[in-house]
Amino acid sequence: MAQVSEELDRYLLDFERFETDGATRAASWVHELRTAAVARFAELGFPATRHEEWKYTAVTPIAKVPFTRVGHEGPALLSGALEHLNFGLSEGARLVFVNGHYSREFSSLRALPGGVRVGSLAAALTADSEGIKPHLARYARYEDHAFVALNTAFIEDGAFLYVSAGEVVGDPIHLLFISTAPGTASASYPRNLIVAGNNSQATIVETYVGADQAVYFTNAVTEVVVGENAAVDHYTLQRESEEAFHVATLQVHQARNSTFVSHSIALGGALVRNDANVVLDGEGGDCTLDGLYMATGQQHVDNHTRIDHARPHGLSRQLYKGILGGQARGVFNGKIVVHPAAPKTDARQTNKNLLLSGDALIDTKPQLEINNNDVKCTHGSTIGRLDEESIFYLRSRGIGVEMARTLLTHAFASEIISRIKVEPLRASLENLVGTRLNNDLPVEATP
């Protein structure tokens, strides 16, 4: 392989340090898992753009920076700064991770029903390694994905959530990942495992934030197991620093008649790659993937989704919307695979993009692999600018041209925001998106 050498060696060296002194003392199966994953990462290397799944996203900017894993000794936080990172979520439990490590000091686990276990993965690996063994790394395949392999090699901490059968968790559980950017280029590898038992229900919010201007690398993997007839509402709010790299995989496994909804809101980061993969592995599974990405300047945001319809009567709905300004580049690649054993599948995928400047760019690609005749599959994508008719209509009522443009752009985003079910979160995102539109994403007048 061409690149290999130095860039990979750094990570292998980092791994050795991690295994010898940094890592939580772990059961032998965890050790074996890490070792196998790091070996796989060494084989795969950082993906090149000739790799079909990475065609539009060059990860060389990540490979070039000598990122190393941060230990527990990361700088302390000001607790005052935490409050505005709540996104209106004051009711439920909150788990805070600083540079990938669980912070007991800033977390609060109050008010959870008895059938819910929530805490750090590090604690679970120590206390109940056998309990998580059936799930951890069983769904997110590191064999095919270099960044999942890298994350798996550094499995140590993140959130572990187990909702017992029949348990309904009313308030959202907030997982807050903060990068504080110590002097060196730091990498963190959050690893989350969420298991929702049969007939259970839960709402999980993952947020990623970082100090302004800081250069760091977040490589996250979240595995979600949705039991029979269970319902999971999942949110990802990505507000990394404008210089940060963010690569995340959301891997979902759904049992019979389960419901899963993902809302992925990507606002920050210099180079961002999100993979959302869902396997509908039980009859009548229902999944919705909503996404909103807003990028400007030199930002690059890549969203890959893959839905595997493996059983009959599965339903999937995807709506991803992008707003791109400056010289930002967006990628949407949506794959739907209907397996032979999945008749009566009903899959729909939509990707809509709004380009606010002449230099913004989007590559959008649907991929349908249909191996059963008795299915309903549709996809569509649009790329456009603001509608001049609509702008004129608003202006003819006295609304200034700037405001008219902002209003229409906001309206474009609100289709996704309005589908957020957690009220305080929706309100705070409305504001956040509005601020971002006003400050960072001016609409360039069409020539």
């Binding site: 209509y393 202006r395 003819s396 006295g398 609304i399 041209v401 008219a404 309206a411 609100s414 289709e415």
Partner: protein
Amino acid sequence: MLEIRNLHAKAGNNGILRGIDLRVNAGEVHAVMGPNGSGKSTLAQVLAGRADYEVTAGEVIYEGKDLLTMSPEDRAREGIFLGFQYPVEIPGVSTTYFLKAGLNAILKHRGLEELDAVDFLALIKEKTKILAMDQSLLNRPINEGFSGGEKKRNEIFQMAVLEPKLAVLDETDSGLDIDALKIVAHGVNALRSPARAMLVITHYQRLLNYVVPDYVHVLVDGRIVKSGGRALALDLEAKGYDWVKADAAMAQRTSA
């Protein structure tokens, strides 16, 4: 209030207005009629400031000011309202929200106090009554999923809220059944006042049974070829546009 002098406009390379002269005073209702393609809608759009048309000659003086140099929003703020022939659907923006933004921009421009949510709601309630409008429509995205009649009613409703000095209604009657037409006409009549002028553009004389104009103008090939009172509309109804066209052609020959 409005004086149009020798107005010429084109879209692309097509001259659509070829010398319009028209004077409208406060309190007057002028009907502009004409066959398809005569330039009726272009006149309305040019007055509202649509950029798709290029004014090549002539001027428009509105309340002593040069209208043609103003932006569309400034025209609205100065009191001009265009009722669209084809109102635009805008997903994601409710009528209430955008109308409040518009009204407050207008009030601010005039140095008046802006309305807060409570006062605005009260105003809306009052105006929906005039048009027998279902208030729930206003919380929906602008015109999205509205029937043709609902869209036109929404235009007149917006006019009632914004209380313009000069209303230009572009074929507000077309596509309406008789019941909807009566409601729309009632809304228009409710807004007639000595301080307000209206330019009612229509293809059919039917509307003028309900909104009785002070003057009727006939537009053919981008020029006003005939002006008169209410009776002119009835003549047009009876004889068709060919009659004025022939008349106009003859007049042109005579003058040449």
